[in-house]
């Protein structure tokens, strides 16, 4: 593997059992992604975007082929190792925010660091920094139910970024947001991508998202049909 590649898939195949037969959701994916990319998986519904993100996020395993994340083969990780990989190195952002409703903004962001057993003072600093990045330091005591959709998604970004992961996986992050909020969170993520060198991978249908991407990987029927690098024209 080359030095800067943090994700690499080799002939990745994922099948799901459907009744007595199998359904092939990913059919031989070969992809390499480097540090600091701001890439998107696009394609029609059912093309396998979420499935691919889940495998990269070590929430699921390949049926055939390999997926390396940060140099480790996902199929070979134990439960503990894959949990640790997610806890320290991978952040998730979802269409429906998925904040824990009984906890405050601060506590939602803090949770991953509690799992890391980070000590009190460091933890507090990290949480406040992350909330500052997304501009929510004035809402730390609010519960998710008291926030707007845009604010919820910003909490989710802070939650994914607080541990300063190498990779953030965002599945349709703007699908529930209006255009103003969509741009706002995309700009936030872009800034974080530049400043912290975090790799962002989106799965999306959204044209607004695509405008921000440096690389667009088109999937169809579980295959990569197009892979465009757009960086050049933007810088």
């Amino acid at each position: 593997m080359e030095n800067s590649s943090i994700i690499k898939t080799e002939n990745l195949i994922k099948r799901f059992p459907v009744g007595k037969t199998d359904f092939t959701a990913l059919n031989g994916i070969n992809l390499t992604m480097g540090t600091g990319e701001f890439a998107g998986l696009v394609g029609p519904s059912g093309s396998g975007k979420t499935t691919l993100l889940n495998i990269i996020g070590s929430l699921d395993t390949p049926s055939e082929g390999t997926a390396y994340v940060l140099g480790k083969s996902i199929s070979l990780l134990t439960h503990a190792q894959s949990a640790k990989l997610r806890n320290h190195h991978i952040g998730f952002i979802f269409q429906t925010y998925n904040l824990l409703p009984v906890y405050t903004v601060y506590e939602n962001v803090e949770f991953a660091l509690l799992l890391q057993k980070m000590t009190g003072a460091d933890r507090k600093k990290a949480v406040m920094d992350a909330l500052e990045w997304v501009g929510l330091t004035d809402k730390i005591y609010s519960k998710p139910s008291m926030l707007s959709g845009g604010e919820c998604q910003r909490v989710a970004i802070a939650r994914s970024m607080v541990k300063r992961p190498e990779i953030v996986l965002a599945d349709e992050p703007t699908a529930n947001l209006d255009s103003k909020n969509s741009h706002h969170i995309l700009q936030t993520m872009k800034v974080l991508n530049r400043e912290l060198k975090t790799t962002f991978i989106f799965a999306t249908h959204d044209e607004k998202v695509m405008k921000y991407l440096d690389r667009i990987i088109s999937l169809d029927d579980g295959k990569v049909v197009k892979d465009e690098i757009l960086t050049a024209e933007k810088y």
């Binding site: 979420t50 889940n54 996020g57 929430l59 699921d60 395993t61 439960h79 503990a80 894959s82 949990a83 640790k84 990989l85 997610r86 806890n87 320290h88 991978i90 998730f92 979802f94 269409q95 429906t96 998925n98 904040l99 824990l100 409703p101 009984v102 906890y103 506590e107 949770f111 991953a112 509690l114 799992l115 939650r159």
Partner: protein, 424 residues
């Protein structure tokens, strides 16, 4: 992390309220019912001790074998000598003589002709000596309907039912017919000093109470008695003490070859009282077993429902890098916390209820009045130190067990399946 979990429980009522209520209710029932049942059993034991069995009872071996026939020809002799030995050998006990006899109660008219007649169940106790504990022990004073306790020899108390039936008033004379210890004909006239109702058909049927000295005289039982009952001075039946008293007594006085030799029986050796004592002692454990099983099943199901509702939470936590094992661990920890809270509440309520019953009782006299059994008319509970933990620990254990079972469903689910629940 514990703080984090506690916050979750306290803020999410759906997570805590129902389980806490279930646990509290179960613990309450266990504590309350077992205090109540042990109250009932210990009341039964107490009643039996007072009326029939004593804490220990001495009869001749032959009398003991035919007790229900009241075979006074087989009674104990030289009772006063035996009693004074007992008093010096067992200073922390009280010894009383009783004679039971059967016969006919005859009510004469002014000419001495029979006006009415009925079977009599006679009991002779020490009614007259000053400071006798027997009237109180047998509830005689409380059961008086008319008149007063006998103040002189030759006076008797009769059942109020009998008095009503034959129109006998206080001050009237009645005649007792029967047979003496030696089998000759006996009849003796008494003045009715009062009438009694115990509220219990078994005791009220033709009851006649006379003083023990009158009985000894009438039945030719000079210095003899059907039975001698022994009571511990602290009024509590203590099986260990009773056993040692019994063994010591029987070793000294009893002889297998002599059927007229005295033999001592413990309360539990008589009338199946052993069973009741065992039940009163084990009612706690029986309740606990039933309770833990039933509660575990209920909590298993509430846990399953709760778990279903929380699949998305588990999905999020997995995504944030929590291990499934750890999630399972925290649900158990949650169960421990909920179990503790619920069990504390339930124990407090149960003790409160038990305390109320113990202090005020619940009068069921009207319900039990016509029952033939010797059961207490006032329900009382009995608070024992065990009540503080017999509900508490099972409450916690049942909650944990229920949630552990429920949690297995989550544990067995594949990470990717749980995570799927996040998608809309």
């Amino acid at each position: 992390m514990i703080k984090f979990i506690l916050k979750g429980i306290l803020r999410d009522r759906s997570r805590s309220l129902l389980p806490v209520i279930v646990v509290a209710a179960g613990v309450f029932l266990t504590v309350f019912l077992s205090s109540y049942l042990s109250g009932v059993f210990s009341d039964m034991i107490d009643l039996s001790a007072r009326f029939t069995t004593g804490h220990v009872k001495i009869m001749t071996r032959a009398y003991a074998e035919n007790q229900e026939q009241m075979p006074n020809d087989l009674a104990l002799f030289n009772v006063s000598a035996l009693k004074s030995e007992l008093i010096s050998e067992y200073p922390d006990m009280e010894w009383v003589e009783r004679i039971h006899f059967g016969g006919l109660l005859d009510v004469p008219d002014e000419n001495g002709e029979t006006r009415g007649q009925g079977p009599a169940a006679g009991t002779a106790i020490d009614l007259l000596s000053s400071g006798s504990s027997e009237p109180e022990r047998m509830n005689v004073r409380k059961s008086l309907v008319k008149g007063s306790l006998p103040a002189n020899r030759g006076e008797a108390l009769i059942s109020d039912d009998f008095a009503e039936k034959f129109d006998v008033s206080v001050g009237n004379e009645i005649t007792l017919f029967g047979s003496t210890m030696n089998g000759s004909m006996m009849f003796k006239t008494f003045v009715v000093s009062g009438t009694l109702r115990f509220g219990n058909a078994f005791l009220d049927r033709g009851a006649v109470f006379i003083d023990i000295l009158d009985a000894q005289e009438a039945l030719d039982m000079n210095d003899a008695s059907g039975e001698i009952l022994g009571y511990f001075n602290d009024r509590e039946y203590n099986d260990l003490k009773a056993l040692s008293v019994k063994e010591k007594f029987n070793a000294k006085y009893s002889s297998i070859t002599d059927e007229f030799s005295p033999e001592m029986l413990r309360l539990v050796d008589q009338n199946d009282m052993g069973q009741y004592l065992m039940m009163s002692e084990n009612v706690g454990s029986i309740m606990i077993i039933i309770f833990v099983l039933a509660m575990s099943v209920v909590l298993w199901n509430t846990g399953l429902l709760g778990g279903l509702r929380r699949y998305s939470e588990y999905g999020i936590r997995l995504a944030l890098g929590e291990e499934k094992k750890h999630i399972y661990g925290t649900t158990i920890l949650e169960a421990v916390l909920i179990g503790i809270i619920g069990s504390l509440v339930g124990t407090a309520l149960g003790l409160g209820g038990a305390w109320y019953l113990q202090t005020y009782g619940l009068n069921l006299g009207s319900v039990t009045q016509n029952m033939g059994m010797m059961i207490p008319t006032v329900l009382r509970a009995k608070i024992s130190p065990a009540l503080f933990y017999i509900g508490f620990f099972p409450g916690v254990i049942a909650t944990v067990l229920g949630n552990a079972l429920a949690g297995l469903a989550i544990y067995k689910r594949k990470t990717s399946r749980l995570f799927k629940e996040l998608e809309v």
